[in-house]
Symmetry: C2
Subunit: 333 residues, 2 copies
DNA sequence: CTGAAAGCGCTAACAT
DNA sequence: ATGTTAGCGCTTTCAG
């Protein structure tokens, strides 16, 4: 790879001028042409590492998500990416697997790589953002919050929980259970609160079950619920993947999803043949991403306004055919 | 962030010694202790940017995939990540969207960021790997190949196509159509060849349809096939997502997937309620990733053996219940 | 085994 | 508007 010195020599100017040309600073038309020609002839590409060492910052933002195989997060990632690209930033996707250890490692990498900022969906309430924040790097929490004072963009989770649960009662179900994510994550607990609030006034016993956020977790929890003496006749899951597991458990138990109510906070992924009776509370995943990226980029650009928390509202969705689902989804892109 | 100079001063040694300690080079026990203590006291983390500038290479590998929302590629990505982590490498995920322009941009970034190597699933047969290769950075093509002379790991696509098609004939279907991906991608064309080979000896007319690799493409293609004068009674899709679309189209047309045969090269994602009759030819996505990563890391370590192409075999899968599917999947992790 | 010193390629004062 | 120069923090000869 050629350096600015070689370009400068070939163009007959100083290295500084070459640098200026590539940074859009004031340089005469003529020298500009000279430099560009020389650069082209040498196939010169600025060395970002050197630039970064000098400027002590890069045009890269880190995005830490808990599960790269969950379509909710890939959609969110796309949102971040789209927005970042517009501003010439690249995004590095880091999969934390909900493991605080991995999360910490990635945070350190973000710091030592001089990344411009980080967007994260914390694996636990106890992420240590101290190091990265004290370095002056902006941080935005997305989807999940953290007690650490940083910008955040989240969903109105309680309303989402309420909406999902209400839809089930409206459809005539009476014993509405809830399959929640792991304790200690505010987002899922808020959804549970929503469920509890609706349920409290209508039934006595509480069917609450905690599980991991994945398909197997939803399956196990549903299986347990069905084994109860008085099993529920409907269930709310606090994320998309657990709903898939719950549906599987129902099918296995020979229970038609038409007779058993299922509502999910989130969109069921790739449901070719989802029963029309499944209620989905749509989460603006991609929008979450673009919003977070916008906030982060503003901070990177020097915006110093007080900390903000943006709350996005989930859209209560009536059951729809799979095809309608997709039509909607595609058009949203 | 503290620098080696500050650590050196505090420890009473030279900067070089600090560097040696952090690189595992020979340093006396005593000074080693001194340095580590000082480093700990200052919360010193080596500046990777400076190191990279000096060493002209980083411990980062770029992974370019066509569609981050396709579970096949996220599984592949996990494989790459797992393997990379073991060797202390980080992986940067780049979503090309099957767009040669984006692909080129990411390739340039990989070069100017001094990434150690790149693993890519080319968006087209005409990627220009010249720049990156001439820089001496190793490249491994995965899933899809490229005419450029680089290492590759692929799937035995023709056999996969044959297996999917045969399974349909064995099940008694006689008019087996094929929904293929875009022309110009060897992987999908090889699968089509497999289909054609099986079909040629058993039926006269050919039901071949090209589509994009996504759900909407599969849906449109299936809709067209069903509108034919003599529609097929079964279909093979050359990837996972198009099968989802095809199933949707069938459901819409009021055709039970039990009476219409469906076989996919790839695993249907998150199929909570997949009809047991869908044949899936399992692709070792994650294994593809670990293999590619292993090859790349060997090259990075200086391995200079001749170019290799590893061909992985797809596993012909009998239809299974959704639950069995997941049990299998989880245990594979 | 350890220290001194020379860069890696770029940017940003400071001059001119 | 342009050139000169001094680093950014680290690794790596080269001496000792």
């Amino acid at each position: 790879m050629a350096t600015i010195y070689e370009v400068a020599a070939l163009a007959g100017v100083s290295p500084a001028t070459v640098s200026r040309v590539f940074n859009g600073l004031a340089v005469s038309e003529e020298k500009q042409r000279l430099v560009r020609d020389a650069a082209a002839r040498l196939a010169f590409t600025p060395n970002k590492t050197a630039r970064r060492l000098r400027k002590r910052s890069s045009e890269i933002i880190a995005l830490l998500i808990p599960d790269i195989e969950n379509p909710f997060y890939t959609a969110l990632a796309r949102g971040v990416e789209d927005r970042a690209q517009e501003s010439g930033f690249s995004v590095v996707l880091c999969n934390t697997d909900d493991d605080p250890g991995k999360e910490l490692r990635y945070l350190q990498i973000a710091a030592s790589e001089q990344m411009a900022g980080v967007i994260l969906s914390p694996a636990s309430d106890e992420v240590d953002l101290g190091a990265i924040v004290s370095l002056g790097r902006p941080v935005v929490a997305v989807d999940r919050t953290t007690p650490y004072p940083v910008d955040a963009v989240k969903i109105d989770n309680r309303s989402a929980g309420i909406a999902a649960t209400k839809a089930l009662f409206d459809a005539g179900y009476r014993r509405v259970a809830c399959i929640a994510g792991p304790a200690g994550i505010e987002a899922t607990e808020d959804r549970v609160h929503g469920w509890r609030q609706v349920v409290a006034s209508r039934m006595r016993e509480g069917y609450l079950r905690h599980a991991n956020f994945r398909v197997d977790g939803g399956h196990a929890a549903m299986t347990h619920l069905l084994a109860l003496d008085t099993p529920p006749d409907a269930v709310v899951t606090t994320n998309n993947l657990m709903a898939v597991g719950a549906l599987q458990a129902l099918v296995e138990a020979g229970i038609s999803p038409e007779t058993f109510g299922v509502a999910a906070v989130g969109e069921l992924p790739f449901m070719a043949l989802a029963p029309a009776s499944v209620v989905q509370v749509r989460l603006p995943a991609r929008h979450l991403g673009t919003t977070a990226a916008t906030m982060l980029l503003e901070r990177i650009a020097g915006d110093a306004q007080p900390l903000r928390t943006v709350v996005l509202r989930a859209e209560v969705a009536p059951p729809a055919s799979p095809r309608e689902e997709w039509a909607r989804k595609e058009s949203a892109l």
